[in-house]
Amino acid sequence: MKPLFSRPLAAYACAATIVAASGCATTVDHDPADPFEGFNRAMFAVNEGLDTVAIKPIAKGYDAVSPLPVKVAVGNFFGNIWDSWTAINNLLQGKGGDALSDVGRVLVNSTIGIGGVFDVASEMGLTKHSEEFGQTLGKWGVPNGPYFYWPIIGPRTTRDTAGWLVDTTYDPVWRIDDVPLRNSLVALRYIDLRASVLPADKVIEEAAFDKYSYIRDAYLQNRRSEIFDGNPPPLFP
């Protein structure tokens, strides 16, 4: 297997960020969860710029030209690949039943579902779960750590950044030897994901007073809910 360029790259990015972040955490009245707000806001601006000029237009084009069955097939295909990792993470979190159901999903969808293009398993009652290594770490009691907003990959707490690195190391798509094919698949998955959240753009844009902090607060609430599998203990009594 060829070395993954993503890993050293991400590691450098991390190191560079921590150095940069310590120099620009000067925002007044910041959230204790977000000590590097200055850096994060800068990265957020970079991402917003990238999104406006490139990612969103491509996602819109993809959304416009692909009929629904194609988008569903793409989503299912990558979802099926991810389900194997979901199974491992469920096992690591001690949820054997869920892990077994995830293995069943992969088996059914890879065969009857023709390589994962059809999500037959969901129709058979094998519910899709949403797990990755960041959640597993959370379940094990690892705290969030400072919040970061990274270029391209977006919001991640320190724990979830570590989780993401492990996810990427496992990720079967990133491990494909054929580099052009690998890059095309990674790009397709990214654009498909962006396209799926296009409808949320206007909702967030109009609901938020400050888009940066709205997304941060929502991200932190969402992660908390994910770690507790949708049933977090109440935060505000």
Binding site: K71, V74, N76, G79, F209, D210, S213, N222, S225
Partner: protein, 204 residues
């Protein structure tokens, strides 16, 4: 004259009959959701993003089931107790406008999804409950959409909407608290008012 009287009578009865039905909270959520989505499915204007029409729909069908005073209190947090009754009133009015708009925007983006309802356990005498639903979208993992309801007098009122674990209400806590710290309650009222005005002129 008689028809006018009977019309008046019917109008008077309408809210009472809706209340006296004593619907369970999950039945209420399901009925309102089904009603609203049936209209959206048949309305090409709303589907193509007509915010005005979506706003009207939310105002007539959804609004009566929401407790905006409680929602605003939740979003404002600790500072709520320091607000005068008049400030509370104005805060609720402005926050209501913003939430109605958020809800309407979500409706105009509704396309191929279906809603599935999770069973709700309701103990006898319970006055606070979360009704869980799931937005099932082909090719994507389902999105959890939960409603927190409180029993008030004759019926249930929604006081929080939680999407994928994100409360649309408490998500404002941080930014509202910051505004109150720097500019006081009146500053927050002004911030909400300006936002609503800007949204209103933005898409008529």
């Amino acid at each position: 004259m008689r028809s006018l009287l009977s019309l008046l009578f019917a109008l008077l009865l309408l809210p009472c009959s809706a209340l006296s039905l004593e619907r369970s909270p999950d039945a209420l959520v399901q009925q309102v959701t089904d009603d609203v989505l049936n209209i959206v499915r048949q309305d090409k204007d709303i589907q193509s993003g007509d915010t005005r029409k979506a706003l009207d729909l939310v105002e007539t069908k959804v609004l009566p089931h929401f407790d905006f005073q409680r929602m605003t209190a939740l979003a404002v947090g600790r500072n709520w107790r320091e607000a005068t009754p008049e400030q509370k009133q104005r805060l609720s009015e402005e926050f209501k406008k913003l939430l109605v708009r958020t809800y309407s925007n979500a409706l105009t983006s509704y396309k191929d999804q279906t809603i599935s309802y999770r069973p709700t356990k309701l103990e006898a005498g319970e006055t606070d409950v979360v009704v869980k639903t799931e937005v099932v979208q082909p090719g994507n993992k389902p999105v959890q959409l939960n409603y927190a309801l409180e029993k008030q007098g004759g019926g249930w009122k929604v006081y929080d909407v939680i999407v994928s674990g994100v409360s649309l209400v408490t998500n404002y806590r941080g930014s509202f608290a910051r505004e109150v710290r720097s500019k006081g309650i009146d500053g927050l009222i002004q911030m909400l008012g300006e936002k609503n005005k800007q949204l209103e002129t933005g898409n008529k």
